[in-house]
């Protein structure tokens, strides 16, 4: 049986939270440069210029791209045959976040309780951690730093099956429209469909974790993603909301079976930073 010491998890998470805040994967840079070159709006091109140059500066200086270094979200895919040693996996993830945010001079943006004192926890923990158990002896983590300009503008609704496709399109466009400049466009739109209320929200977040340019494997969903992208880009919002045709970089759908009575829909927005990374341990 394969064993893994959880201290390795801490070390990898510590590196990952810094890397996603400092550095830009090549495909993301290509994607943003394309937008910069193709955007017909002059104001939009100015915004894209700053977005691209900022990434070069952040990477060279090893500083975060944005002062909102996010709340950490971790998706854990654990093989049920893997034996973990050395302690508690959840605590090890939190330790990695704590060390990474201190070592990388990342902003600590987490408050301990949402309603009353809202006291900062001081180390950006806890992260939001989702566990998934599967056959095998692997451990895969997806680590994201979620900015809240975009999280603030996200939404969950449960639609009825009647006229569902039109209602879905209206809802996606409405969320992006209401978010306007606040979600820091060009955004990525994650759409979670089906399951229950909380499952839809989880799927929307997972959709944001997909790699650049990856379409849904089912052609009808892939087509719908492109149709929604076109609808969203007709709003005119553009980069930073300064006007233009690039309001969203992508729309991605994930779905799950659902009940005969409903179509749960979650729409989760991500800003142009797209800070996430996949780890294999």
């Amino acid at each position: 049986m394969r064993t893994l010491d959880v201290s390795e998890v801490s070390a990898r998470v510590r590196e990952a939270v810094q890397a996603i805040n400092f550095h830009t994967p090549a495909p993301v840079l290509v994607q943003l440069n394309d937008v910069r070159l193709n955007e017909p709006s002059e104001a939009g091109r100015l915004a894209m210029h700053d977005i691209v140059v900022n990434r070069q500066v952040a990477s060279e200086m090893q500083v975060p791209m944005c002062q909102d270094t996010g709340m950490v979200v971790v998706f854990v895919d654990l093989g049920q045959d893997l034996r973990l040693t050395g302690g508690d996996l959840r605590a090890a993830i939190m330790e990695g976040v704590r060390q990474g945010y201190a070592e990388g001079y990342l902003r600590k943006s987490v408050v301990a309780e949402p309603l009353f004192e809202r006291r900062n926890t001081g180390d950006n923990t806890p992260a939001v951690v989702h566990f998934d158990l599967n056959p095998g002896d692997h451990l895969r983590l997806t680590v994201a730093a979620k900015g809240f300009g975009a999280e603030n503008m996200s939404r969950v609704r449960v639609l009825t099956p009647a006229n569902r496709l039109e209602a879905l399109k209206r809802e996606v466009v409405q969320v992006v429209q209401d978010a306007g400049p606040n979600a820091c466009p060009p955004v990525v739109v994650g759409v979670g469909l089906g399951g229950t209320l909380e499952m839809a929200a989880l799927l929307a977040k997972k959709a944001l974790m997909r790699a650049v340019g990856q379409r849904h494997p089912e052609p009808r969903y892939a087509e719908l993603e492109l149709e929604l992208l076109d609808l969203v880009n007709r709003t005119g919002i553009g980069p930073q909301g300064w006007g233009g045709v690039n309001t969203a970089l992508d729309v991605r759908i994930e779905y799950y079976p659902t009940h005969i009575a409903a179509v749960p829909v979650a729409i989760n927005l991500d800003c142009h930073l797209q800070r996430h990374i996949d780890l294999e341990l």
């Binding site: 709006s41 977005i51 140059v53 791209m65 001079y105 902003r107 609808l231 300064w242 006007g243």
Partner: protein
Amino acid sequence: MAEAGLPLALSIPLTAQAAQSLRIGQRVQLSGVVYTARDAAHQRLAEALAAGEPLPIPLNDQVIYYVGPAPARPGQVIGPAGPTTAGRVDFFTPALLAHGLRGMIGKGKRSVAVRQAIVEHGAVYFVLVGGAAALISQHIRQSELVAYPDLGTEAIYRLRVEALLMVVANDAAGGDLYEAGQAQFRREVA
């Protein structure tokens, strides 16, 4: 909407005359002292104004920057310091403009009440690119804590900025970059 053209160099204190000459879409290179304040600091400034207490910062012809910087690495003036969403302080802004505040720097749309107060008092709202914090912080030469240290990243700092490049989003003539820019590129569904 103004053609972006070459940026206009402006310095702070920003006079009413200078502010009133600006138009949406215009690029401005701002130099001088700005004060940082976001949600929590605005709450306290509003409470002080309501109670008739003196404020910890001057407002007349001054500029407030909506920002909560990331920590500085040793040897750096400031950590990444990009704009935060301005709309969250809209509730407090008209009172500050009535007390002489001339300019604001942030990101995102302002409320109708703020836009009216900008026109009424001859003020201006500038925007920076959200998420361009590393680039922006290179134009910040000095940073000094002024008030409310208990608020951490939300405390008020006095920043000296040099040639910080921004765009006019709301002007004293009632213009709105977001409305004008978006109307130009909105397309009906075929």
